[in-house]
């Protein structure tokens, strides 16, 4: 078990190091004077000098990288060109909004995917199963931003049920906040629901074919009890891993969804940063997103080993 943990941790650290190298190289590939890139077009000579000194831009590249990395590790990713606010503080301010959106979308996705997926597996090759598979394929193919626009068209413009935009903070007006988050969460949750539903169905089909399910059935357990007490518990384990791998898609999807529904989360932040050529901010957001992805998947791997004792046992056997 400990071996497994250490190994996963080591791989994650290496991945993080390579990520930082990619981001560093990317910023250096922006044409023009790097000091100008990092200080902004309206910085004066003093401002440029300050940036040059801070990042040691006259040193050789490897030295520059190490200096930049040591600042980044301490949570210093420079400051936004536009607002002069530290990048980390800007991003941290935006995270709760996107986090709320992601959690709600996840809720939507799980609420659709698990019941539909389980039922499809239980009633395999039935009309229900085919209909659910067709819907999942549509969910995978529909462009989320178009779905968002169509929802606005129907729910806000035609029916006037929900406001299309105008974010209110959760703790200021919980009801108003939820009213404005329902549609973005639906849009972001749809694609995820489709992926998870397919996974749930496949995992459940595999589990339902297992020996212990046959045993449970043959000892006369009611079909419902077999599914709920035996199959679901084991069938949902692989779904957790997929969830971890989908966090990237969720973060990417948040960029588009926040743009359509004018949610001031960090997806909107990165688009604004790109438009205003706020390179330090873009760099910070990209670096933080990738690191978050590595972190989430490390956690998923660890929880997986807790959920699936076989991994723990294999680790223990290796220790002995």
């Amino acid at each position: 078990m400990l071996d497994f943990l250490l190994q996963r941790l080591a791989i994650s650290l290496v991945t993080l190091a390579v990520i930082s190298l990619i981001v560093f190289t990317g910023v250096r590939m922006i044409p023009g004077d790097p000091a100008r890139v990092l200080a902004g077009t309206d910085a004066d000579e003093a401002g440029l000098e300050e940036v040059r000194a801070r990042y040691g831009l006259r040193d050789p590249l490897p030295v520059q990288y190490l200096r930049w990395l040591s600042l980044a590790v301490r949570g210093d990713l420079g400051e936004s060109i536009r607002t002069r606010e530290p990048v980390v503080r800007t991003v941290v301010r935006k995270i709760p909004i996107t986090f709320e959106l992601a959690c709600l979308s996840l809720l939507v996705a799980l609420a659709i995917a698990i019941p539909v997926g389980v039922l499809s597996a239980v009633r395999r090759n039935s009309l229900w199963d085919y209909a659910a598979s067709a819907l999942a394929l549509c969910g995978l193919s529909v462009p989320s931003f178009w779905l968002g626009i169509m929802l606005i068209l129907l729910v806000s413009v035609r029916l006037g049920w929900l406001p299309a935009s105008g974010f209110v903070p959760l703790f200021q007006d919980p009801l108003g906040n939820l009213q404005r988050m329902v549609m973005p969460a639906l849009v972001l949750g749809t694609g995820l629901a489709a992926v998870l539903m397919r996974q749930t169905r496949n995992a459940m089909i595999e589990v339902l074919g297992a020996d212990y399910i046959r045993t449970a059935r043959s000892k006369g357990l009611a079909p419902r009890a077999v599914v709920f007490r035996h199959a679901i518990r084991n069938g949902l384990v692989p779904v957790v891993t997929i969830l971890g791998l989908q966090t990237g898609a969720l973060m990417g999807g948040a960029v588009v969804t926040e743009q359509i529904f004018v949610v001031p989360g960090f997806g909107r932040l990165i688009v604004e940063a790109v438009f205003t050529r706020d390179y330090p901010l873009v760099q910070g957001v990209v670096l933080i997103t990738a690191s978050a992805y590595v972190g989430v998947n490390l956690l998923v791997d660890l929880s997986y080993s807790l959920l699936n004792p076989r991994i723990r046992v294999r680790g223990a056997a290796a220790e002995r």
Binding site: T15, V18, V142, F145, M150, I152, V157, Q259, Y293
Partner: protein
């Protein structure tokens, strides 16, 4: 000597895996007849392939098929609802939406296909080398792809467009670069198992060089899986282009990309909703068809799964 050995194996494996299919359909009829028989057994895949073909035809034949100029505005025809003269209506500058949707298919196809070709051109050789030689280079490449894959697809593409600047070419490059690690991973995995196969070992024993082994024996045997992956990635790349253009980071107006059309449509949802319907439906139809066709292709090439 090594060549017939490999071909022999390919035939054996094909014969084994399609044994049931062969017994149902005798080898009578030309390739078209056989294709038709196969298509009839999977209507969704056939429809998908047909729709993809239609879009491809539109993309290639846009100058001849499209009714009028996609860039030419007409101030007397601003935001007109669909009519006989403009079957899909006109946009905020009085341009024909149908003409723009048809020209848009060219941009979408271009971005989707070329991005995936780029990803394959880089990813397949790297994966082949990593899987074939293993060792330190393989480890280095795998850590690189780990890190590469940690960037959410869209965020990496946005970051790359920031560096390169927005344009169709740059969006295509950005999406291609973002899709590359998938091909490195997949190719490497396939090569790792294929290189241990008897026919590869046999060819090696007969003195075939590394290049010959990779090109003649390993690559042809992993090609079908790569082809399936490509059909899965193309709709993703098409969506990527549409999203980046929608955000204003891709194809720039007045070029008719489905994404930029949807971006413009957002401001006129109340007065001209048709501006939002058609480009979105086109993206939906094309990605759905690609997915259907890809599923069919996978069944066709890998009958074990079926």
């Amino acid at each position: 000597m090594s060549q017939p050995a490999a071909r022999g194996h390919a035939e054996v494996s094909a014969g084994k895996s399609t044994a049931t299919a062969v017994s149902i359909e005798p080898g009578r009829g030309g390739p078209w007849v056989r294709a038709w028989r196969r298509a009839r057994r999977r209507p969704p895949a056939a429809v998908g392939a047909l729709v993809v073909l239609v879009f491809a035809t539109l993309a290639v034949g846009a100058p001849w098929v499209a009714p009028g100029d996609p860039l030419q505005g007409n101030w007397s025809q601003v935001r007109k609802a669909p009519s006989a003269a403009h079957p899909l209506g006109t946009d905020d500058l009085g341009r024909d939406v149908l003409a723009r949707v048809i020209w848009g298919s060219r941009i979408s196809m271009q971005a989707g296909v070329f991005a995936v070709l780029l990803a394959m051109a880089v990813g397949v050789p790297l994966g082949l080398i990593a899987g074939f030689y293993r060792g330190t280079l393989d480890q280095l490449l795998m850590r690189l792809t780990d890190a590469w894959l940690a960037f959410p697809f869209l965020i990496l593409a946005i970051g790359l467009v920031t560096i390169l600047g927005p344009s169709l070419t740059n969006v295509t490059v950005a999406i291609g670069v973002a899709a590359t690690p998938t091909f490195i991973r997949l190719t490497r995995g396939l090569v790792l198992s294929t290189r241990e196969e008897d026919y590869v070992q046999g060819a090696r024993a007969l003195g075939a060089g590394d290049l010959r082994l990779m090109g003649r024996h390993v690559l042809p045997n992993v090609a079908s899986a790569l082809l399936v992956q490509a059909t899965v990635q193309i709709p993703g790349a098409i969506l990527g282009e549409a999203i980046l253009s929608f955000l204003g980071l891709g194809v720039q107006p007045p070029q008719p990309s489905w994404g930029t059309m949807l971006n413009a449509a957002q401001q006129f949802l109340e007065s001209a909703p048709w501006m939002a319907w058609w480009p979105g439906l086109a993206i939906f139809a094309l990605t759905l068809s690609f997915n259907l066709a890809g599923d069919g292709l996978r069944d066709l090439l890998d009958p074990r799964d079926y």
